[in-house]
């Protein structure tokens, strides 16, 4: 199994296949479908300093090969996570990474600080790219200056592995990636959802309560792949790739484009066992191509 190992900052993953925040709950939701310990890691649901009720229903609209969501970071807050959820999931033998979000820079830092002492949480993923909250979220991720400020503030208080999740809703994603790298991010993960919308032609009404929402699923894969490739060439820190991965082949493509690890998101809803199939598919690929380790794939796009 060692040949599947990859490293992100100080974080060692047993394999490069992880599950994306907001699509995998706290892992428990999938325990009936698979052995969670076979995953490289689990990025758990977006967590904020204070509890959040999220947006009004309807929060979801199906699209061709994808879906829009407008959940709006519904969660019970970091204290609830620490006291109620962490004790239930800490025994998993996989990396558990908490996705941290907030409305202000102070919120991000305070939320991150509360996670430092959790022994089985080796890293956090800073969500500066959620398109579904009125304040904060994506607002921090759409300018290099604000992305740098929030990264700097969290870096100051959080000594473990710090991953920053980037928004694709920007003119040049490499600028944002470089800005957070300069402030000490250990890795970047990309991409979060694309801002989109859906309309009911008959009623002339938007399908989401928030009018706009985040698009995910196989429909975004080519754009995500391009962004991973661009960012890989712009920074020296590891890139975690995601966006529409539904097969092992997609995962290998992201690694060839430069991803050290991948996150599987929306497709978990369609096939809750997809992540395990991706692990197995990558292993087969390595054997077929006579590769010793999975790291030999990273950025090996042949042009």
């Amino acid at each position: 199994m060692d040949r599947l190992k990859v490293t992100i900052g100080n974080l060692e993953l047993k394999n490069p296949v992880t599950t994306a925040s907001g699509t995998f709950g706290y892992g428990r939701e999938y325990a009936d479908f698979m052995d969670l310990n076979r995953l490289g890691g689990i990025f758990v649901k977006g967590t904020t300093l204070e509890p959040r009720e999220g947006n009004d229903y309807p929060r979801m609209a199906e699209t061709a090969s994808g879906m829009l969501n407008a959940v709006g970071l519904q969660n019970k807050g970091v204290d609830y996570f620490v006291t109620h959820i962490y004790p239930e999931i800490k025994h998993y033998d996989t990396a558990i990474i908490v996705n941290v979000s907030g409305s202000t820079i102070e919120d991000y830092a305070a939320c991150a600080a509360k996670l430092i002492d959790l022994e089985k949480i080796p890293a956090i993923e800073l969500n500066i790219s959620c398109p579904n909250v009125k304040e904060g979220g994506m607002a921090f991720g759409t300018s290099a200056a604000s992305a740098a400020r929030v990264t700097q503030a969290v870096r100051k208080v959080y000594p473990k592995t710090l991953i920053v999740k980037l928004s694709p809703n920007v003119t040049d994603i490499t600028e944002i990636a470089k800005a957070v790298e300069a402030e000490g991010a250990d890795a970047v993960s990309l991409v979060n959802t694309f801002l989109g919308m859906a309309i009911d032609a008959e009623s002339r009404k938007p399908l989401l309560s928030t009018i706009t929402g985040g698009l995910s699923g196989p429909c975004i894969k080519p754009i995500a792949l391009r962004m991973v490739w661009q960012v890989y060439h712009a920074v020296n820190i590891p890139v975690i790739g995601m966006g529409g991965i539904s097969t092992w082949k997609d995962a290998v493509e992201f690694m060839l484009a430069g991803a050290t690890a991948v996150q599987i998101g929306t497709y978990n809803f369609i096939d809750p066992t997809v992540s395990i199939q991706v692990v197995e598919g990558i292993e087969n690929y390595l054997s077929r191509h006579n590769l010793r380790t999975v790291s030999e794939l990273i950025g090996k796009l042949e042009i």
Binding site: N268, F269, P272
Partner: protein, 256 residues
């Protein structure tokens, strides 16, 4: 998650099909309860990305078959209804919480359904009858042709009908049926279009009758991961798929 083989597919009217399915592996169906649902994967349909949630219409333990009543609404449900005998359907099941069964078998129950929303009430009616209750059914539709499976419902209790056009039973909405004036019920179960369920919930509330409704909020995963199908309740936003789809109206914010 399991592959099911379609044992039969019967077209009941222009829009609705009755599919009887059993595990393709031949394994025995696990325990399932009325009100629970399945998430069916739809293949070969570019516009259908998500699974389709369908409530469990009936379970025939002897034949090891699950029955699904499917209405053709969009491309996804059309694909499901087009499945031939012998073809496979991948399902995540059983999902959600079931209707509750009262402790006292003297409790007078009525199961009120509208259109394809009557689906889970057949299974519920059987379980109630087997548990010692004498359930009544009050089923509504646009016209007589929309009232499905009446002969099946009749096996488990008295069936009352209403139609909008008066072609079967009393004319008008279910909440205006005369049986609700004549008989005194203690517990109402309802499933159907949201406006109908809201009218039933209001009726139940005004008459001090316990009432459970089965919601059909749009969902992506069906097992509590995506947080898309939330319903605003007195306990905040909760997932319809895991905390429901069955809710007591006291938990909802529909009335007060």
């Amino acid at each position: 998650m399991l592959d099911f083989v379609v044992r039969s597919n019967e077209q009941l009217n222009s829009r609705n099909h009755l599919l009887k399915v059993s595990p393709s592996t031949g394994e025995k169906l696990p325990p399932m309860y009325p009100g629970q649902f399945v998430q069916i994967r739809v293949e070969d349909s570019p516009s259908t990305f998500l699974r389709r949630p369908i409530s469990i219409h009936f379970v025939d333990e002897k034949a090891n078959e699950m029955w699904l009543l499917v209405q053709k609404i969009g491309e996804g449900t059309q694909k499901i209804c087009a499945k031939k005998e012998g073809s496979l359907l991948n399902m995540i099941f059983p999902l959600g919480k079931s209707f509750s069964i009262p402790d006292d078998t003297e409790t007078k129950t009525v199961l009120i359904g509208g259109g394809v929303g009557t689906a889970p009430l057949l299974f519920l009616g059987r379980v109630l009858k087997e548990s010692g209750f004498s359930p009544d059914f009050l089923l509504g539709g646009r016209s007589g042709n929309d009232l499905l499976q009446l002969n099946e419902f009749e096996k488990y209790g008295t069936v009352y009908c209403t139609t909008e056009d008066g072609t079967k039973g009393e004319k008008g909405p279910v909440t205006h049926h005369s049986v609700l004036q004549k008989k005194k019920y203690d517990f109402i179960y309802t499933c159907g279009p949201q406006p109908m369920m809201m009218a039933v919930a209001r009726y139940a509330h005004e008459n001090g009758i316990a009432c459970e409704v089965s919601l059909e909020n749009l969902m992506a995963c069906g097992f509590g991961a995506c947080l898309c199908c939330t319903e605003k309740t007195k306990n905040g936003n909760v997932c319809t798929c895991t905390e429901g789809p069955v809710f007591n109206i006291k938990e909802l914010t529909w009335i007060d």
